[in-house]
Amino acid sequence: MSIATPTQNPQSYLAAQERWRPVEIVFWLAALLPFVLFPDYLTLASQIAITGLFALSLDLILGYAGIVSLGHAAFFGIGAYTAGVLTKYGWGEPITGLLISAAVAALAGYLSSLVIARFRHLALIMITLGLGLLLHEIANSAHWLTGGSDGLQGMQVWPLLGMFKFDLYGYTAYTYSLIVLLIVFVMARRLIHSPFGLALRGIRENWTRMPAIGANRQAHIRKIYTIAAAMAGVAGALLAQTVGTVSLEAISFGRSADVLVMLVLGGAGRLYGGIVGAMIFMIARDQFSGIAPQYWYFWIGLLLIAVVMLLPNGVLGGLSALINRWRSRS
């Protein structure tokens, strides 16, 4: 051991950033707890996993690349309807259904990215909002395909891998959702720690500088928008397959707004921000709606204001600040 502190090698510094932390392993093991501790809540747990996946997809564009969207439910809805329509018209196999839904949502994401990559700020918020409303009304009016406001009826989802039926207690649903969430999460984690992930943070940190270092911002944005849309499509397809129906709510403005709230609650620009936000939001909704079903958004509003005022980087940002302070003291 040398006396002088050796200067850290830059490559091992970056490798250390990418390494899985023990708390992450604990987090994923804890995700198995509902099977044992809350077997009555597996349906809720499954919806949290699905919503967490949806929030993770928004995090890639909003949290990492800094591109605001108020219409992200468009891709969730496209995924949900694709999966739903597939099962209704004869193809009920869930995993291929998931992949086809991802592809359709990715195509929609790519097409909208051609417009979205050209705008920023308020114009971008309005365009994504408009796009979301547009698709919602298309789904509403295409009653013959989507069932409109009655919801998509008559879905026949085949057993998972030909073996596991989607049961009433949500056992298969949660297992399936959790595995898909984990797989997509690992892929997103890899993306964030890739050269492209660094470029996304570059776009967020300084929009003006990027072209001055030779970056094609629009190409980067088109790429991440397509990827995020595919992920949102997977989440939508999961919901359709596990619930067995698709309502207009899947593609509504409310869902776009909710997922934004979750991400801000949990902490945008953090890999676990969306999942933690979804947990807080969905559990709070479950609990509060037991007290006063029609007023539960009152509490969400209060929670949102409190978090933004006290913890500008979300719950996870607050936690990590707390841990850092504790570490520097000891």
Binding site: A15, S194, P195, L198, R201, P211, A212, A215, A219, I227
Partner: protein
Amino acid sequence: MSSIALATRGLVKNFGSLTVARDIEITLPTGVRYALIGPNGAGKTTLINLMTGMLPPDGGQIMLGGEDVTVLKPEERVRRGLARTFQINTLFPGLNALEAVTLAVCERRQIAGTFWSRLSSERDAIEEAYDILKRLRLGDSCYQPTRELPYGRQRLLEIALALASRPKVLLLDEPAAGVPLEESGDIFEAVAELSGDITVLFIEHDMQVVFRFASHIIVMVGGAIFAQGSPQEIAADPRVREVYLGKRHHG
């Protein structure tokens, strides 16, 4: 070997009725160190914005190494070897210096769109970035977030980011702006140490620095080139003395 690195021909830009660039004719031979001086509002930064494509000109041409780049986007000019720095820090506050320069190197190597490989596996890019940082004496503070770096180091990082694109022509917009006089020497020493293949045009207000580091001076006044020549010629030019050198310099 082409001897002209960068040239403008009849470059014109108006903001409404205000002409900020009037028939600008500049020729930068390869490898020179030229200074661009002039009072505030003379159009120096505007000229850099025009050359780099951040502003579209209303007329005229920009030639980079014999190629007409007038209609190319900023990033396309960067990839052809035209880099710049900014008078007001235009950095990545939340990234550290290593990440920022590695990003710029990845963009030049066209691997910044790669999302399936780990950043840490891009050894060559990381080493190249670290070498640039060490050359600018930023090696020991390269893990600190940019927003926490002392101001003088942020000015050096401006240059490091530009160097990561391996420029043939480097346009420095007041590289020592806001840096205390005793530290500004360090920044210009770093500029002086750059490879002789790199053509440099820098904007600077401090005449001592200009006379020390520039082989040729271009004076702009009111959006037009007022005079140009060797430091001796400029110093001796009575018209220049009248409009610029005679007055007190401003920061």
